[in-house]
């Protein structure tokens, strides 16, 4: 495994742990768990979770696009 792959994996790992924490106690409770402000009509507590799901998509696209599988 090259240095590049190591960094990619490390970053993905950090993201996965952050995402898990963001969606569970205590991070979700402290930062994402309120009704206001409304985002696109959704209460913030729901928009927060939707936001992290979308963020996961973006991170996975980036991880996948930089892997050797897609580079050739």
């Amino acid at each position: 495994m090259g240095t590049r792959d190591r960094i990619r994996n490390l970053l993905l790992g950090i993201y996965a742990v952050s995402c898990l924490l963001a969606m569970t106690w205590p991070v979700y409770d402290r930062f994402g768990n309120s009704i206001e402000p409304y985002v696109l009509g959704l209460p913030y507590s729901l928009a927060w979770v939707v936001g992290w799901v979308l963020m996961t998509f973006v991170v996975l696209v980036a991880y996948h696009a930089t892997g050797k599988d897609e580079r050739g």
């Binding site: 996965a16 995402c19 898990l20 969606m23 569970t24 106690w25 205590p26 979700y28 409770d29 768990n33 309120s34 009704i35 409304y38 696109l40 009509g41 959704l42 209460p43 507590s45 729901l46 979770v49 939707v50 992290w52 799901v53 979308l54 996961t56 998509f57 996975l60 696209v61 996948h64 892997g67 599988d69 897609e70």
Partner: protein
Amino acid sequence: MPSWWIVFGVSLAYLLASLIIGILPGRKASRTAAGFVAGDRTLGLLVMYFITGATIFSAFAFLGGPGWAYSKGAAAFYILAYGSLGLLPFYFFGPRAARLGRQFGFVTQAEMVAERFGMRSIAGVMALVSVLGFVPYLALQMKGAGYVLAAVTRGNIPEWAGAALVYGIVLIYVSRSGVLGVGWTNTFQGMFMMVLAWGLGLYLPYKLYGGVEPMFRLIADSRAEMLVAPGLTATGDPWSWGEYSTAVLISIIGFSVWPHIFMKAFTARDDRTIRRTVVLYPTFQIFLVPLYLIGFSGILFGSAPERADQILPHMLMHMEIPAVLVGLFCAGALAASMSSGDAMAHAAASIAVRDGLVEALGRRYDEVRQRSLIRITVFVLMIASYVLAVTYRGDLVTLLLYAYGPIGQFAPVILVTLYVRRATGRGVLTGLLVGSAVTIFFGLRPDLKPFPLHPGIYGLAVNLMLLVVVSALTQRQVSQRDDDFLEIARSG
């Protein structure tokens, strides 16, 4: 013509379309078990995306998702939360398993584990647990389909007849086309479900409250506790953060090792297809949002259904909505039920034959014979599930939770099979058996749990501990075989 006829006609047209789409690809597959179970390893990205997505979105998501939001509020968000990372392990497990599948001809999860450790009994245990888990799950899907048809036709089609009609069609295309039939119908059903869920999810709040935000503002005024996590339990008490958080965690861990999902690694055309499916999966997950909107729109609806998961049909039947629209909704719910039910019937039968008969009991059948045995087993399992669906009067969801607890315990098994050289078969088997027992025990007696955490967490802790300890005690010479196996997993 009475309006229930229109509703039924629309549903029937939908069922026929599914049948045709499901039957056509059967001609292309080879007449072997690999053709029937793994589609000769030819599935591309579009079908893989919908086969994983639509398989996961079952009648539970389509009726249960709104039901949870309606009765438990923000507790429902946990389903969305675990889906974001849930398929991620598959990005790494999937290609490894696929390489081993191509080399050794595996089409199920358990044959891979049994080959790695040279122990047939593991395949037997995994097969038994999987089949025991699938039958109540399938029965639940059948009940869902029968219930929806009965509700929208105002009882003119009784539940038993609706379930028989819908699953008769599933039986035809699954036994004819195998996984290719499942794949193409799921693609069609998946698209249909998405359009319908978004349509209803935006239409109901708009029609009833003048929009999504006005609806949430009304709920915030009178039932604010519904909009903040961790929401409520089934009895209406506040849910605990420990249970909510560990439910998210255990679901992420267990998600990608569900046999009917994991087996799809063996169907993909190449590694790239598997990885891309995982990358795209969160976009499918967003489809829960309109389902939540439907559920939330029921909170202030006025009248209440008998059971929470009946909220969507309940609202549709009590509003002035054209019969064609109700028919489309019905078709969408049937799509959700069928797209999970077909994959389960197919997976359970494949597992029973390949892992149970061939691997664990050591019967020798050629590939063509295996294929016909799997078809017969699809039939037998569907009849068994149907009988359970129409006769069992207890709470099926509870039965399902007991059955599914042990499947979550497959995660460490798959992990060490694909990555860890020093693990032994006895360690794996001991961990699996005791871990499952612990999960079931705390599922049955939640009052004995030392902390309010998901029962699967206790099972996993014991499972991992025993796996490590027993593996260390039964350590044999690490053989060339283990090295070869892991080398194939790594590079094909």
